[in-house]
């Protein structure tokens, strides 16, 4: 053990955990958001066990049934069980949302940190490009990208990730510039640490909480974008159940059954609201100055 780390000093992980717990307790609504989101994640994971029917099993005799003891949430125009499709649809929403957000987080943070670290012309040009990308309506960009590349799961993930990079670049850049001048980074430089080591080992841990909070808010946005794409027919190919696709089918039968469009709508709303509660509460706790900002 080195002389600087005494037994009393917490490990970085314990410190991080304590800070996270404090952030959650500052704003109790974060707990509600997290709990609801975790329940949805569990429901999605255990969909094969929980779903009463095969989500793609068609039964024309049972089509467009209202909610009943057998079909809790009714059936769609092909006689497929709505509850089972909602459970399976959660998997698509979550996988696409989480993977694309992680990708955007990774690339965006790297771009922002490098721009802030190098400064000068690199910084100006990169951030200008990010601003241009940010100015264009992201939903329209996503629509066009998916239409051009073809609506497969991978392409949808790429399109959503690409449109969510700029905000992460922005949020990573400003603190990188601030930390660049701080003593611990200067000391590391004097010791001859490489740029990579300083950025990844010393600056990243300091800006990570903000990026994570941003991630939860953009996860909500990614799930909303995926549903929007599926709603206009650019989702994962049918018959695979997606919430946006279910709303689309429900909307086409809206005069026969209102539950068909309403049930997946509520499912999406619950997940997005939970993530916003989680992210918003945590952001308030991390940065009180931003309290309640959109």
């Amino acid at each position: 053990m080195t002389p600087t780390s005494t037994a009393a000093a917490p490990t970085p992980f314990a410190y991080f955990a304590a800070q996270t717990l404090k952030a959650f307790n500052t704003n109790k609504t974060s707990w509600i958001g997290l709990a609801v989101f975790l329940i949805v994640v569990l429901l999605a994971i255990f969909a094969p066990v929980l779903a009463p029917f095969d989500p793609n099993d068609q039964n024309i005799m049972e089509k467009l049934r209202p909610p009943s003891a057998e079909h809790w949430l009714g059936t769609d125009s092909f006689g497929r069980d709505t509850l089972s499709r909602i459970l399976y649809g959660a998997r698509i929403s979550l996988v696409i949302g989480i993977v694309s957000t992680l990708l955007a987080m990774l690339i965006g943070t790297a771009i922002g940190m490098l721009a802030g670290w190098h400064g000068g012309r690199t910084d100006t040009v990169t951030m200008q490009a990010m601003d241009v990308l940010l100015a264009f309506p992201s939903l329209i960009l996503g629509l066009i990208l998916v239409a051009m590349l073809g609506p497969s799961m991978v392409n949808i993930i790429i399109a959503i990730a690409l449109t969510s990079i700029p905000p992460f670049a922005r949020i990573a850049r400003a603190p990188t510039i601030a930390f660049k001048e701080r003593e611990f980074v200067q000391a590391g430089r004097a010791l001859g640490y490489s740029d990579t080591r300083l950025l990844a080992g010393h600056i990243l841990p300091n800006i990570f909480p903000e990026i994570l909070v941003m991630g939860s808010l953009w996860l909500a946005n990614a799930i909303r974008t995926e549903a929007s794409l599926a709603f206009v027919g650019l989702g994962v190919k049918p018959p695979i159940a997606t919430w946006g696709g279910m709303i689309r089918e429900g909307f086409e039968n809206i005069l026969d059954s209102y539950t068909l469009a309403l049930v997946p709508s509520i499912a999406i709303l619950v997940v997005i609201f939970a993530l916003n509660l989680l992210g918003d509460g945590l952001r308030d706790a991390i940065d009180p100055k931003l309290k309640g900002e959109a």
């Binding site: 609504t29 200008q128 490009a129 601003d131 241009v132 990308l133 100015a135 264009f136 309506p137 992201s138 939903l139 329209i140 629509l143 066009i144 990208l145 239409a147 051009m148 590349l149 073809g150 909500a220 909303r224 549903a227 929007s228 709603f231 206009v232 027919g233 650019l234 709303i247 909307f251 809206i254 005069l255 209102y258 469009a261 309403l262 709508s265 999406i268 709303l269 997005i272 609201f273 916003n276 509660l277 918003d280 100055k289 931003l290 309290k291 309640g292 900002e293 959109a294």
Partner: protein, 312 residues
Amino acid sequence: MTAFLIRRLAFAFVTLFAVLTLVFVLVRIVPGDPAQLILGDQASREAIEALRHRLGLDVPITQQYVVFLTGALRGDWGVSMVTGQPVIGEVLRVLPWTIQLTIVSLILGILLGVPAGVYAAIHRNRVIDYAMRIASLLGLSFPPFVAAIILLLLFAIALPWFPVISARSGSVMAWYQSITLPAVSLGLIAAAYITRVTRSAMLEVLSEDYVRTARAKGVPWNAVIWRHALRNALIPIITVVGLYLSILIGNSVLTEIVFSRPGLGKLLIGALNQRDYPMLQGMMVIYTLIVVLVNLLTDLAYGFVDPRVKLK
């Protein structure tokens, strides 16, 4: 002021140029040959060559770029492959529908959001503040098409107050009937964003010294809030409104679909489904022009609200 204006115009021009380049690249990242894609596997070599020529794909890429840029700025956006009409005509025909919808929604959002945000800030940490914060967070959680479908279910199907297809025009009544539900569904979500940013901007300003001074010298509370505080809280509000306008244009695509309302959204989805490349390219140009114009107006609004901005 002139220098400020010139700087902003120069920046707008750079943005326009950059996004147009992005559009050019986007339309050309399609895997494979667009002409082959449009005509299918059965098409003859001659047919593909002819289409490539019609789309201007048979010249070197640098020349395509020059043709595209000069065409985009001159208003020559090519001819729709589906209708055979000039793209710009088709776009301009439906543009007023989308612009009306966007502006009415935004006005609705500001009229609801700004007072709500001010009210929440004044009553900070009271029940009404918490209720408004939860309500606005819920509001901005709504995917735009979900809000639209719920309004459609409630006020066009369950209660037949409004038409299911919002495509009427001609009289004032028809206009009101066909714009109300789409504008409310977009305006409520906009109001949620504007409420939140107004609240936090007001909270910041209300703790400033000049607000305390104004109160101390006996300025009526109402005047302090609306004249002294809100005026200074306007910059972040304008920023969000400006940024939100671009989100709003994106969201209006889905709203137009739900309400079967003519507009850029319907045109865009149609072009996407039929792979009408000239149309898609033209639509991205119009979206770019709108976004650049909105950014320019936002910048000018900054200068108007806060004279210090002009000096920077």
